[in-house]
């Protein structure tokens, strides 16, 4: 706090003058009066300063208590003054152009609204959360798909170690699947994601242990076929149990080159019984179907998935790898013999941010946004990937047609990502997928997409906030 130097000196000066007998009585009275006036003046100034201090404190308290509105690259947020209640609106739009080369004239070159979502999230009483995500994108030349509920769930956050989630959300099996649709290295996830469940309805407990060095998730879900998402209800009486453990053992150690290393294992076990085919089909990087079961094949019995997985980040370098083995018991018809089929896939993907920003599981944040007027360019990243998916040979020909399916797809991808800002990304990916045909297949597959290797160029403009 500021003080007045003069009023503090004045009494001492006056005292020394009076002690020295230097002043006559009348002048002494005048000086005493002057001293009182100075003291009163000092008090007035102190009062004014204190009043201002109180006003500032009141204003700060009022500002703290007032509801907060924020529009940032994380969306539009309304929050109560204490932060215990909030509502956030986010969005995701992905516009794609798909080009395929030397593919016998299949009509598949297209513009596509790949994803279009309005994401609503909220928190109440600090510990209760919800998420509601409708999907308006997808579809084909015939029109958009019917808007659907992608995610709708309620969270109860008891502590960092124990959080509960109920509703529809991503089943915690596939590593790349758990990454946001916006920030995977490539526009399309790898072949591996064909073998893991997507969204499912269920209940899950998850949390962080040992200071975040180990995360876990365990849940009971309705159970869905490979690559499929659930509707809003379970499709049979049986359930799947899903468990995932993921460790980042050197997290927080600034001196360790392994600080960005995470690895873990996930798996699911359950029973399925349905009249329809076990999957809608496995797709290439270009999203063309290269394998599907016969429509008469039904899943009837246990299914298991096991997936060791790894993620590594070191500055601008990033690496992701995972392996999935998915087994399912199938019948060729309602009364046919039961057979266990095991399909496997693996992938390794890597990226390097040329402009030096950190590679991250949650996207790249450019040091400077792209700004034409100021000559700044955002961040650039190059990415590469190799993936392989093998179908169990025993699937042919009883459960899948040898003539129109591949039994293995091997895909190489090379891509370039331009992060104009934290929320806008432009990307161009080239994919080259080779197919092996099953025993008993003709030299050239009857499926148009499998008559040649798939060479595709998929480019995307995306906003995600």
């Amino acid at each position: 706090m500021r003080t007045l130097p003069y009023p503090k000196l004045a009494p001492a000066l006056l005292a020394s003058l009076l002690a020295a007998g230097a002043l006559p009585a009348a002048e002494t009275d005048d000086l005493a009066q002057l001293r009182d006036q100075l003291h009163a003046l000092e008090q007035k100034i102190l009062v004014l300063e204190r009043k201002q201090e109180i006003r500032d404190e009141d204003a700060a308290a009022a500002a703290k208590a007032a509801p907060k509105i924020a529009l940032t690259d994380k969306g539009f947020t309304l929050a109560s003054g204490d932060g215990a209640n909030s509502l956030r609106i986010r969005g995701l739009v992905q516009f794609d152009n798909r080009l395929f080369f030397d593919d016998s004239g299949i009509v598949n070159n297209s513009f596509l609204l790949r994803r279009a979502r309005i994401i609503t999230e909220g928190t109440f009483a600090k510990n209760y959360t919800f998420q509601l995500v409708p999907e308006f994108g997808g579809g084909n030349a015939a029109g958009a798909t019917t808007p659907s509920i992608l995610d709708a769930n309620v969270g109860v956050n008891l502590s960092p170690e124990l959080q509960l989630k109920f509703g529809k959300f991503k089943s915690p099996v596939g590593l790349e699947l758990l990454q946001s649709d916006s920030w995977t290295f490539f526009d399309e996830r790898s072949l591996v994601t064909n073998l893991v469940p997507n969204r499912d309805v269920g209940a899950q407990a998850s949390g962080e242990l040992f200071g975040g060095k180990l995360t876990y998730a365990a849940g009971v879900f309705g159970g869905v076929p490979d690559a499929a998402s659930s509707g809003n209800a379970d499709f049979d009486n049986d359930k799947d149990g899903v468990v995932r453990l993921f460790a980042t053992p050197f997290k927080g150690d600034p001196n360790s080159a392994l600080g960005g290393l995470s690895f873990g294992i996930s798996g699911s076990y359950g029973r399925e019984k349905t009249a329809s085919g076990h999957t809608a089909g496995y797709k290439t990087d270009g999203q063309q179907t290269f394998f599907s079961y016969l429509t008469t094949t039904i899943a009837d019995g246990h299914n298991t998935r096991l997936s060791p997985q790894l993620d590594y980040r070191a500055g601008p370098f990033g690496l992701i790898g995972e392996y999935v083995r998915s087994t399912v018991e199938v019948r060729p018809s309602a009364t046919g013999p039961k057979k266990t089929l095991a399909n496997t896939a693996w992938q390794v993907g890597a990226g390097y941010v040329l402009t030096g920003e950190d590679s991250s599981f949650n996207g790249v944040v450019p040091r400077q946004n792209f700004d034409w007027a100021n000559g700044t360019w955002g961040a650039f990243e190059v990415v590469a990937r190799y993936a392989d998916l093998k179908i169990d040979e025993a699937a042919f020909p009883t459960y899948a047609a040898a003539a129109s399916n591949a039994d293995e797809a091997k895909a190489f991808g090379l891509g370039f990502n331009w992060y104009l800002s934290k929320v806008v990304r432009v990307s161009v990916d080239f994919y080259d997928t080779k197919f092996d045909l099953p025993t008993g297949a003709p030299p050239v597959s009857t499926a148009a997409a499998l008559k040649q290797n798939e060479e595709s160029l998929i480019s995307r403009v995306q906003i995600s906030f």
């Binding site: 102190l46 109180i54 124990l162 149990g241």
Partner: protein, 330 residues
């Protein structure tokens, strides 16, 4: 289905096993910080010995009126220990968080300790302050808190008003004239008692801090008896800070038993002793005897005797447009 039930049972077991620590929030008024820091430790030890459970009591402090407003607005207090019964009545009436009969649930109108209003002056008492009349003399600067936000300040107001009303030749007109002069000598009103102490003690403003007895003792203890001295007026008011369990919150959190015990323990020997050591006048007779030398004898009147209770006093003096609003010139 059996497997699911087993998983759920294991999950429930995990949740209950991890909930060994009970957390309480005590929303209190400004000057009780130090008292409840000591008391919370004592209660936690008592509860641990009794039940084996850990209790962590979080504290929130501010002007009593502001704190009541916060509870009404949703601050999840398990217990409130405020300066005025009127503030608890407001929580019961407006927010319905507390049952209307809260005052009958604990002994002595749910006030486990009392206090009164005294004067703190600068060492040597340069303005020669001896009693209430000295406070309204020209040239005397008073530092009370604002009765609009502070419970202690309302007790101060009522002490000043009441003594003018009761003294020989006094009456409503004299009391109103006195209280007008009183606040004319108060150039700054803090929102809480602790803020007023800061203004007087640390900022060096004013001649007399008029407020809580316990706050005056604490200022002497913390800043030195060589800088300040307490002046005890001939008459003052018996301030009865009340306490209550916030029924809605404890029901929701499942903390009824521990919150009730927390307040009941204030009446125990140890609770009363801690109150005395923190300059609150204990209710227990033995504790009163123990601290008799600390607390000077003062003629005390009660709010019921002079003002007809808190409800009437609140409406007459502190409600919007009440006497305080009429006499206080900003």
């Amino acid at each position: 289905m059996k497997k699911i039930l087993l998983i759920l049972a294991a999950l429930a077991g995990f949740i209950s096993a991890s909930a060994k620590t009970i957390e309480l929030l005590n929303v209190s008024y400004d000057p009780t910080r130090e008292f409840y820091v000591s008391y919370n430790q004592a209660f936690a030890a008592y509860w641990k010995a009794k039940t084996g459970d850990e209790v962590v009591v979080k504290q929130s402090h501010g002007g009593s009126g502001k704190q009541a407003r916060s509870v009404i607005d949703g601050l999840p207090a398990d217990v409130v220990t405020l300066a005025l019964a009127a503030d608890l009545d407001a929580i019961a009436r407006v927010g319905h968080e507390i049952a209307p009969d809260w005052q009958t649930r604990l002994p002595q109108n749910s006030s486990p300790y009392t206090s009164t209003i005294v004067f703190l002056v600068r060492k040597g008492n340069p303005k020669g302050i001896k009693d209430w009349d000295d406070l309204v003399k020209p040239g005397v600067t008073l530092i009370p808190a604002s009765p609009k936000t502070s419970g202690g300040a309302r007790w101060t107001y009522l002490a000043a008003y009441g003594q003018a009303l009761l003294k020989e030749g006094g009456g409503e007109a004299a009391a109103r004239e006195y209280i007008t002069k009183f606040y004319r000598n108060a150039p700054v009103l803090d929102s809480g008692a602790r803020g007023a102490t800061t203004t007087f003690v640390q900022r060096g403003i004013g001649d007399v801090l008029v407020g809580w007895e316990n706050e005056a003792f604490l200022a002497l203890k913390e800043f030195g008896a060589d800088k300040f001295e307490i002046v005890v007026p001939s008459v003052s008011i018996l301030a009865e800070p009340p306490v209550a369990v916030v029924d809605k919150v404890v029901k929701r959190k499942g903390t009824q038993a521990v919150a009730k015990a927390y307040l009941e323990y204030l009446y125990s020997k140890e609770g009363q002793d801690i109150a005395g050591r923190n300059y609150y006048r204990p209710r227990d007779v033995e504790a009163q005897a123990k601290f008799a030398s600390t607390f000077p004898q003062i003629k005390l009147f009660t709010i019921d005797q002079v003002f007809g209770g808190w409800t009437k006093a609140q409406a007459t003096h502190f409600a919007d447009g009440g006497i305080f609003d009429q006499i206080y010139q900003k």
